[in-house]
Symmetry: C2
Amino acid sequence: MAPTHYTRLTLAERPKTTITPSTFKREVVPFDLKPGREEILVKARYVSIDPAMRGWLNDARSYVPPVKIGEVMRAAVIAEVVETGQGSAFKKGDVVFGHFGWTEYAVVKDKHAERLHIQPGMEILDFLGPLGPTGMTAYFGLLDVGKVQAGETLVVSGAAGATGSIVCQIGKKRGAKVYAIAGSADKCAWLEREVGVDRAFNYKSATFYEDFRKQVGYLDVYFDNVGGDILNFMLTRLKQKARIVLCGAIADYNTSKPKGLSSYTNLIAQRAKMEGFIVFDYAKRYPEAQRELASMLKDGSLKRKFHIVKGLENAPDALNLLFSGGNTGKLVVQVSDEGVKTKL
Amino acid sequence: MAPTHYTRLTLAERPKTTITPSTFKREVVPFDLKPGREEILVKARYVSIDPAMRGWLNDARSYVPPVKIGEVMRAAVIAEVVETGQGSAFKKGDVVFGHFGWTEYAVVKDKHAERLHIQPGMEILDFLGPLGPTGMTAYFGLLDVGKVQAGETLVVSGAAGATGSIVCQIGKKRGAKVYAIAGSADKCAWLEREVGVDRAFNYKSATFYEDFRKQVGYLDVYFDNVGGDILNFMLTRLKQKARIVLCGAIADYNTSKPKGLSSYTNLIAQRAKMEGFIVFDYAKRYPEAQRELASMLKDGSLKRKFHIVKGLENAPDALNLLFSGGNTGKLVVQVSDEGVKTKL
């Protein structure tokens, strides 16, 4: 039965640095949603919280237009179809993925939703993790941009995060020596014991740089999720023909003026490169990545963790967790716990 | 007839920032040079002055070992064979190219010297310019790293320099729109009128950044010879899939701590890359570049300028000219004016 009202979160003002209580506005609005032709009404179950979302709040030239003031915050979502419009290819009860945003309910076009097929070994949240944009980012960033090869040294920052932890595992599977960087002893322990990296370093340790120099030396591929000082340091640790994969820059997203990379001239001496990418460019090749990651889920070899925050109203705080390092694994907001099976 | 003494310049101390009178030591030493088996005695005519030489003075991990304290300063040289050892493939009077250093005379192995064949349209100095490391740097940097295509927008900094001016011309020949950046009105006039770029910008103009934004907009390839602020600005001017070719960083070579690139996250949003290279890696492919550049010399289409400083003892000052922007075109030191034809 349709509710009388529903909740959504809109962008109230652009944050200059960190997200504050006045960045988003919680709106409880009368329920007036009705799917039209080839449309569906969806009810959100899980909302993805990703570092890239911070970038969508800036009024800057980027790969997607910024979220507008007053607009529902953009986000990847797993939802359930609760009503179908005329001619829709979906049916009530279907579980779908799409960029429906921070809202309990939405009407979307069929073509903007993707039906999920949950197979043995998978859980529904995997479609926001290894089988979703997170996993796609890890796969194409490491293999297509980083071109990691067996025997090479791979370093991954933000390694206990959603993307980082998958990068580590694809790297190991491809035969690389994998060094992980994370921000706590617990994260490092998880990375070494569960995820299976060769060694994890806590960047908050007073001896981090020294330890890294001694125990890793130089690297072939650096998969960077953090930017800032660690990226600048890694520029001094490049082997010849090294590749730096710029995936994200959590350390710099919340600053209005990053300190900047003073070590970039090492790229010249080491004939190395630093390259950015946007996962959406690989949309046509997602099935290739999904096949490999699904097979790792099926055989139980892919480790992943979900950090679940309850309640859509807590999404802004959840987004801040990414920048304070409060999460291990994929961060999601559980909007409601009705009606969706999370495991087979 | 052999002299009783000859002059050479050795590294006396490593400069912290700029080169000073105490960086190099002028030594006049007794002449005791005699070529052995498959060796030659060469007398230097022209010594090349290149930005990369500043890097060879730092005790840092790089693509070649640093010049040692007390060692003759490394440099590319055009010399004349004055004596041949037993079994040498050279003959007296041959004009040769090699990294003989800042010295009037040197004994070198046959395999470290290359006989020059001066064809119509060429002058001997071209073997330090378009047909030497300078031209090879321009060619492989632009085409192999930058992969410039017809119709693309190419921006070149240090454009009135030896490498930059050749990059501009190869870019035009390949059908790119070419924008040059240089440090004086005279240089800009030469670039627009002689070299044939679409437009040249004086980066010392108060309206440089504004002019560039208005008149160029965004770029596909940025061939960077300067680093620093201009590189940081160009990071904000990238089109999707743009390539930044890191050739040199004149603005940063003399600073112990560069300011750093704060705009690097644009590489992510624009799926762009920034890549360094070292021309020596392309040694096997030099003939390919030399064929093209030689044909441009023969048909008179390749413009170049030489800035000649007289006297080996002035080589350190000449090296500083590169960083003060005092030269237009290829900078060389004329060691002696005897005996070498400079034109056919």
